[in-house]
Each structure stands twice: as structure tokens, then as C-alpha cells.
Symmetry: D5
């Protein structure tokens, strides 16, 4: 543990986040996502929920401003109602990025392909369905 | 994830627990314990509390009945008051082992030596102090 | 060994089962299947029969409900009679999944290709012929 | 699988047995033995009983004739009755070695030390207690 | 060394043979074959002849009965005379398989491609030319 | 790079710092220190000065409050004058720890032994002499 | 550290530079470049600027004279103004190669593809944007 | 070092040469060749000249007699004069192979592709230009 | 295979022999020697006899002339007759070293300790008993 | 190869030299030294002489000025005459260090122990006897 770094972030996760550059993507996968079979780099966060990890990551991780929709979700097949966890995601993201607008929606099979090309997948214990989320990293700017 | 296995238990942790035999020890270490420098086998559970992990482990893990005190704690130096988390530990253990009686108390430096000889150390994010605990595995009996 | 986990399940096998996600597949291969040459991840269970392992796995492993036939067999070429072990398979599966209906039948060469894409292959010592079986993992749901 | 080699013997086990030389020892450990923490080379045979493995091994493995007692057991502390599985061991060994006479009895802690120096430990799922056995390899003679 | 296993078979070779399943192929390569550059799994048997290794392997290794010609040779380019070592091969194979009939003949470049897809190549010191041979594994049947 | 983490800290360095626990030590070594031959874990920061790295680390890294002198230096042999860089060290440490008082001074050979037992050594390009410094990690406290 | 080799050059970097041959390319990447996800060989120089590293490298590294433009930059999309750091690059290169004339300009996506084929990528902490640069190695000539 | 093996041949080089079979190729690369980025197996012989290594290798290494030109060079682009080192190569080869006639000439880019498919590349310190040479191994014949 | 190197010598064996220096020892172990459990570096020569390997090795390997007895054997316990293979050893050694005089005789347990300190052990299939031999390498002299 | 770095220095050697710090030692070993069995880090320079490598190394490598004799040789047993190569060593060292005075002389067995503790051993092909030399690294000073 270190001062100022949330306890939910493991040493491996912070290392992975630092290694990523502009345009690299990371997937926060729910507990039923086939993370081990898709991941180029796998970080396990068993037992944690996606919103908690999302909140901890966004403290350090800028979203890409070169694209309209730097955050992506998996489209629900054959349903109109929105999974309630998406509103939580939206709420967390707006804490860090007041300009956040809308999610990119990806078909299930395109989502798997995107996940395989992502720099890393974080395997959580999230039990909500359709709770997978992809973040595209932006540019870190000196202040 | 699997049916009947708590989500807080990672694939590596269940594997480690199964590999252990009668008399092998596992340390559940709080977030300030020097786990990485002491561990023969290290399992990371960042962001979780020790009582939650203890509860999940004891569902599968028999305590040693060949010894009086199969659970050990680190003695608090120069204090009379008992850390409140110890009562939680006691409560969790009694759920699984009605005969549980008392903890073995180990001096700080003996505790470090025991930890180095343990089969594995689980590094948690527990923020309570003196929240480290050693479990000695018992015999699994056919029913 | 752990309480409540069948002794036939090795530490590596439980770890593999936990790492799998929704839609990932595992092959239980008979003793003559070319398991080592096909497997992305190989788990050896020499000397055991497939029905025993199937029974132990299904205690923890949900079958996919998003597909009609989450369990697949290799089609017998040029024969009408069904291998007797298939009835055993059916019997075991129904113990855990009362809705189970019928197997997907796969041609020999498609079966090999499916096996190569599976997350893992379990190499058993099953001596019955045509005793290979593929399981597609379903969603683990909180209760 | 191969013709003439019992299915219970895994590829790793036969390799280990062949690599051993005169005087090297192998431990067949019951399911509660701390095999993973003691083994220089670990071979897993989860779910199998020790007598079945013993029988398969002795088909290929000569016992040492340079010592009076090439087979060793762990002494039961504070009991007079002999664990029933020892008679099974004796029966199996006599099938292969008509001169077999008596076991060497080793104190618990000496047994652990011997196990750590053995060339390999076979981790079985044997549920009988005191079912651990050490075999010392003899000389293979041309016929 | 073990009782009943020919001394020419190394621990690695027996392990490779056991790992193979129905339809997997193994190449016994003469001393001039580009074994190291073609092999998925390489087993060195320097200084030995192919017929001796063939004889030792067939003691354990069933040839495939699902195909007409489970044994393949490399076609000699532009010659009519048959290399004398082929008769030796034939003689050895018939010791173990009275139904053996004829070899499959493969063009040089197809042979190299087959070798690259084989489960293993055994690099011998055979000095006879055109002494390479591919064996396809059959089914091991309980007796 | 991440928001709020100084650019001088590499992904490996932040990972190492997070893995350390209470009482673990890290050495910031000048460019002439035999870092590679002493380090259990080596982190290279070629071309950087020790005070810059010290400043970046202390933003996250609590010094041990259980000991009087959690920061140690190598005693200069046969000299009275204090290396000027020590004042810089003192200045940086006081920015983060207003209670900082004095350094522990260690003889050259004891310093090497301490460095070998440290969790990690950071190899810098610092050209000042006697610029090696050991930090003992304290407890991270929830706020 | 060694005499005559700038301190900013790490042991790994000098090794990589020596291993490269005529026509091999190396990328000096700014702090936001996706270096870890693109690099065949990754050298970290966190916290350093590209011009400093460029200057140190060109002391040893000949630029290719078989091509008109052995140094390449990433084209700025939709802008006319030249990033000021390019003039610095030009200045440093001319110190070592008086014939240096102009940069090759590469479109963003072609640049990523070139980076993936480069022998190595050096990940710096450069905060200027569009500060990535590719160097093609020339022939080292005996003097 | 061994009796009868030239000192210029390293343990790794002799091993590589022995592993090669009929038709495998080895590249002796000059000091500016991109050896590390092209080699499947890389053997370093820094500081040595190609003719010295060629001479040492040909003592053991038969050239292929199944092809007209078992030795290949890289064609010089746009020049008529032959690099003087080629005469040296010719002289050395004729010491071992009196039938040697002429070199196969390969275009630069075909040469790179051939080098990538070769079994090994030997990286020398040869400073002559166009001093790269490919040897195709022949059959070793019993005498 | 290479010209002038006996086929019985594997690529690994020649590499090991070349790596050895003055005073390093190599053990040629018979088929019952516990080679795998004693060897720092293990070279397998299954199926071969010790005299054949000895003959091949001594073609390249100088015996130490700084010691009276550079070749050692294991003393036979409680017997007067000399194992017949020792005469073969003597015969082979004298082919290469006309000054060879007598063997150093080592007690069984000292022999095991020497074997553990040797640079390598060659595991043969020699079936003669007491056929283990240790060779101490001498100095290779330029001619 | 790089500008200004002698071709005899391999990428691995320069890396090793840079990693060394004040007081670390490197052994330049002649062709008969047991380098592979003694070295913590081994760098092969087969076919080269020690004086050539010494000359190339000292261009970059400062000798320790904190000790009287930073260069050590192996004492010749029972001889008065000095090996002629020592004068060469002396000559080369004085090129770089005008204050060089005399060698430290070490008994054969102490020399072996020192070599085992050195940071690295360079295995050359030097055929002169008693041509082994140990260099102790000094401090690199900014200019």
C-alpha cells in the first residue's frame, strides 16, 4: 500500500496502467466475462465490483479526448431496458470528466475482438450482467 | 467464478489451499505486513479485509485438531487492550469450528520467522493494525 | 484436499475451471484422444473415467443456458448404435441440470478444431471409445 | 496411454521413475500429506488410492536389495493397532518381491525429513490415515 | 532404467509416447534429417540406429488401424532400387503387427511438411540414407 | 504515465514500492554503488539524481515511525566534512515528514550487508559521492 | 557507469544499440506513446526527455546513409505549425551529421506500424507532444 | 576448449552446427548485418572475421552436394567490381571442397528473407562490406 | 552430425565438454547410478555403454596431468575381484594417454559427493555394475 | 557494432561492465580456466586473447584507486620465472593508468574463490598459461 493510492489497486494494476499510452485500451470485465481466454495481459481483482475499480482507476487515468466516445459497453441483445449498473458507470465517469457524454455501444462479438486487442483485461467479481466496460487512455498533460 | 465458491477467492488462492497438507500454514496478512519480502508463495487479495477472506477460506479449510491452538496472532507490544478485529476473527472461526478456544500468541519476530516458513501468504488490504493471522491446516476427512 | 471439493479434482483443474468465463469451453477427453497435441491448456487426470470427472465438475460448473445444446459429442462415423457411455453422460448431466435435453453432435474433424479452441482439455484414462465431451460454461448467478 | 503401462501412471510419473537410480527414494503420499511443501519433484495423482499406484509402480520399479528394509512407513504415535492399509501394502509388495519381510518404521519428523530428500513425492487422494510410504529403488538387472 | 522398458528408450521418449493420442504422429529421423529445425517436440537419441528404436517403441506403441498405411517413408527421387533399411523396418513392424502390409510413400517436400506437424521427432544417429519413418498412433485397447 | 504520479517513477518502481510492507527497506544508490551485485530486486533509474527520486518516492512512501531513525546513510571514512548532498536529502525529507530529526549512520561494510537484505535497490546515475540512502517503510494509515 | 558513456544510457540501452545492424530502426517515444503495446524490445527511460537521449545515442549510433531520410517523425494532423521540439531534434542531429537535411514525415497509423517493426522502442518521459522519432541505423566503418 | 576443435568455435556454435541437418542453412553475417533482428537462433562471435570462422566451420561442416551452389552471397547493387573478401571465401571453401565452383548470388531483400529462415545466424565483427555468406549443410557420410 | 565427431556424442555433450576447464570433472554414470538426483548438469546417453562414450570423449578431452590419477572409480565393497569393465576402461584410456598408470579408488559415499560437485554427469544405459568413472579435465595445449 | 566501441566487446560484455559498481570484480580467464563452473555471470569471448580484451575494457573501465593493487594474478606454483604475458598485461594497464605499480598475487585456491565471488567471468581463448587476471572496478568521475 502507498499513500494516496486506493487499496483496491494492486501493484500489478498500477504498473499496467502506467505502461499504457495514448490510445491503448483496458477492459474492466465482470465475473462472467471470459477474461483469461481473451487477455493479452490479465490482472485479477476477484471479489471486487466494477464501479469501485473504475472509480479508483479514473483517479489516475485520463480518458481519450481525441475520440467522441472513449468509453465502450457491450450492447444488450434483444432488450430495451438499460442495465442499472450503466448509470453507476456514468456517474463515476462524470466525477472525473465533466464533459463525458455518452457510451460507445459495441455488438457482443465486436466487443470480444476489441477485448483481445486491448492492452489488458481486469477480471473482477462483478455479478451484475453486461457490466463490462472498455476505457481508452488519453494524453497525460504536464501541469 | 464457480457455483458454491465465494467470489473473493481467486483461482490462485483455491489452488494454493488445495495444495496444502496437514500441518502446512497460511498467513492472512494485513495491508502493512511485509508480505512480498517474506512469502514463499504470495497470493494478492488487494482491497479486501482479513475477516472476509478468513470466512471464505474456512468454508473449505479444516483447522488442525492435532494442536491446541491452530490459529496464531502477533502479540501487541506494550499494550493491554486487544485489537477489536481479534474478536471478529474469533467470531468467524467459531462459525466453522465450535471447539475453537484461544489463539496462540507469537512475538513479533517469531511471527516473521513463522511467516517465512508458511506455505503461502495472502496479502490483503486490511487497514486494521495487528490484523495478521496464521492458520494451520488440519486433516480432511471423508464423509 | 479441501472440504466439499471432490478428491478427483486436482488443484490445477479447479483453477482452470474458475478462470473460465461465459462461453469458454472445456473438453473431457478419453484416454486415446490426442489431448497433448490439441490443448491450449492441458490438465492431466490419468487413470480416471470421464463420467466421474464430469460429475465432480458439474457440482461447480454451470452449463450455458444461452445456447440450446451446451454439451457436445463426437459423431460416430458409419454406425447407428450409440456408445453406451453417452447414456451415462446424460444421466450425470441431468443430476445437475433438469432442463438438459440433447447433445450437440459434431463431426470428427470439427470436433478436433473445437478442441483446439477450447480453454482447456482434461486428459483422462477413459477406455470407452467416443467418450470425448465438450462443456460450454454458463453464467454463475448470485443467490 | 501405451500398451502394457497401467493407465493410472501419468507421463510425468513414468519419466520420474525412469530417471531415478539405485538408492533414490520416492514417496507415495496420502491426500493429507504436505506434499507440495516437501517435494523436490512433485507428481500429482489426485483421486487415486496409494495401493493402486503402488501396484502399478512395482511392475517396473525394483526395490533395493542392498538394504534390509527398502520400504518405509510413518510410525503411528501412541497406538498399538496397525492401520489396516499397511496389510494391503504388504500384500501388493509381496506380489512383486517374494522376499519382502518387514517395513522400516520412521518417526513422524524423520519421515518428513526423508520426504524432503526423496527424488519425488506422488500426491494421491488416499483418505486412509498413515498411508504414506517410501520406496527405495534397487538395481535394474539385464536378463 | 526400469524393468521391462528397453534401455534405449529415454525418460523423455517414453513421456512423449504416452502423451500422444489416436492419430498423432512421430518421426524417427536419420542422422542427416533436419530434425531440430522441423520438430515441435525434439527427442535426441544420438548414436542409435532407427531399427533399434523402432523395435523398442513398437513394444508399447499401437499403429493406427483406422488407416490403410499407418507407416510412411520418404520416396527416393529418381531411383528404382529400394534402400535396404526399408526391409529391416518391414521386418520389425511385422513382429508387432502381423497385418502390416505396405508403406505409404511421401514425396520429399510433403514429408518435411508432415514432420513439422508431427507431435515429435526422434533424432537418431542412423547413417543409412532415406531411413526416416513416420508412425501414426492407434488406439490402446483394454485387455 | 499517469495523472499525479511523477514522471521519474517507472512502472516497475511504483510496483516495488507498493509491494513493500512495514519495516521493508529500499536503497537509493548512487551511480558508483555496486547495485546489480547486491540487489534482491533491482530497479534502474539511470541518468537521474538521488534527491529527485527521493522527492518523488516520499510523495507516496511513509517513513517508519516505530524507529528513531528510519533513514540511513553510509559513514564517510576518515573525514569530518559532511557531503553537501546530505543537506539536500534532509531538506527533501523534511518536506514530507516535519518530525524528521537525524540520519542513522552506517559503516561501509554494514551498509553493504543492509543493502543485500533490502527489498530493492534503485540504481541511479547520481555522481555525488556518498549519496546512497536507505529508507525504511512505515505504516500506511487510512484517512 | 563507464568512462565516456553518458549516464543517461542504461546497460540495456547500450546492449540494444550494439545488437542493431544496418537498416534496423529504433523509436524514441514520448511519454504518451503506446510503447509497451507496440515494442518488440522495450527499453524504459522514464523521466528523461527525447533530445537528451537522442544526443547520447548519436554519439555512438551512425545514421543510415543509404537512404535520403534516415530520421522519421509523426505528421501532425490538421495543423500547419511545427512542434518546437522538432527544431531541437534537428539541432542535435546536425551536431553528429553535418549532411542532415530533412525528416521523413509519416502518417500516424503508418508510424504505429513502423514502430511495431522497429528493433526497439525507448519509452521516455518526454511531455512535449509529437515528440516521437525513428532512427534508422547506418553502417559502422573502421577508422 | 577441446583438442582438435579450433578455439574460435564457441560451445554454442558447435552445438548449433551439430543440430543442423541436410538442407538447413547457416548465415555468417558481417558486423553490420541486422543479425539480432533476423535470427531464429543467434550465435555471437564479436570481434572475429568471417573467413576465420568459415575456415573453422568447414573443418566439420559438409556443404550440400544435392544443389549446384550450396554457398550464397548478397549481390552488390549497382557495381561491377567484386568485393575482395569474396576471393578469400572462395579460397577457404576450396581447401575443403575441391569441386566448389561458383556462388549463388541473391538480391538484398531475398537474402534477408533467406536469413530469417536459416537455422542460425553467426554475428561476427567483420568490417568488410558485403561479407555475408550462407552455407547449406550437406550429408555427413560414414567412413 | 558433423565430420570427425563420433555420432554417439550429442550436441549437448560436446557443448558441455567444451565449457569445462582445467580441473573440472565429468562423471560417466552407469544405468543404475542416481544421475538425475546428483547432477549439476545432466546429459542423457540412454542405451549406450560407458566404454563407447569414454572412447568418443577422450578423442577431444585431455586428462589432467597436474594430478597423479586423473581418472577415478568407485571402490567395490567387500570384494577382491575387479569388475571386468575396468580393464576395458584402462584399455581405452591408454589409447589416448600412453602415460596412464592407475585409477584413483573412491569410497562409495565420497564418490557420490564428488559426483555432486562435478560439472556434469552423463547418464548412460551401461548395465555392468561399478561402471561409473570420473574424468578430470586437463589443459588443452596449442600445437 | 557502434562508433567508438571496439569490435571485440560484445553487447553482453558492455552491459555487464556498465552494471558493475565500485568494488565489483571481473575475471578475464584464459582458455583453460574453469569459467563456466565458477561464474556468477559468464561472458564468452572464445578465440580472443586476454591482452586484446583487457585493452578494450580499460578504455571504459576505471580501476579502483581505493586499494593499492586493483589488479590480481594467479601465483605460479614452484617457479621463479614470470609468465611473459604478465609483462603484456602491465604494458596495457599502464596505457590507461600511469600510476599502476604492481599486481596483487593470489594463491591458486584463493583465486578460484575470488573468481566465484566476482560479478562476472569473461571466458577467452587465450592459450598462454597463468593468463587469468582480476580487475576491481573504481569510481567513475564526472568531468
Amino acid at each position: 500500500m502507498l499513500k494516496g493510492i486506493p487499496k483496491i489497486i494492486s501493484p500489478d494494476l498500477i504498473k499496467i496502467l502506467m505502461e499504457m499510452g495514448h490510445g491503448d485500451e483496458i477492459v474492466l470485465a465482470d465475473g462472467n466475462f471470459p477474461a483469461a481466454s481473451c487477455a493479452a495481459n490479465l490482472v485479477r481483482c476477484d471479489g471486487h465490483n466494477v464501479p469501485d475499480i473504475l472509480d479508483a482507476i479514473l483517479k489516475f487515468f485520463p480518458l481519450d479526448t481525441y475520440t467522441e466516445q472513449p468509453v465502450s459497453l457491450m450492447k444488450v441483445v434483444g432488450e430495451n431496458s438499460e442495465p442499472p449498473i450503466w448509470r453507476e458507470f456514468s456517474h463515476v465517469i462524470k466525477k472525473y470528466d465533466s464533459h463525458f457524454n455518452s457510451f460507445e455501444m459495441i455488438d457482443r462479438f465486436d466487443f470480444y475482438e476489441r477485448a483481445k486487442k486491448a492492452y489488458a483485461i481486469v477480471a473482477t467479481g462483478e455479478s451484475a450482467l453486461y457490466a463490462n466496460i472498455i476505457l481508452k487512455k488519453g494524453v497525460v498533460i504536464d501541469k
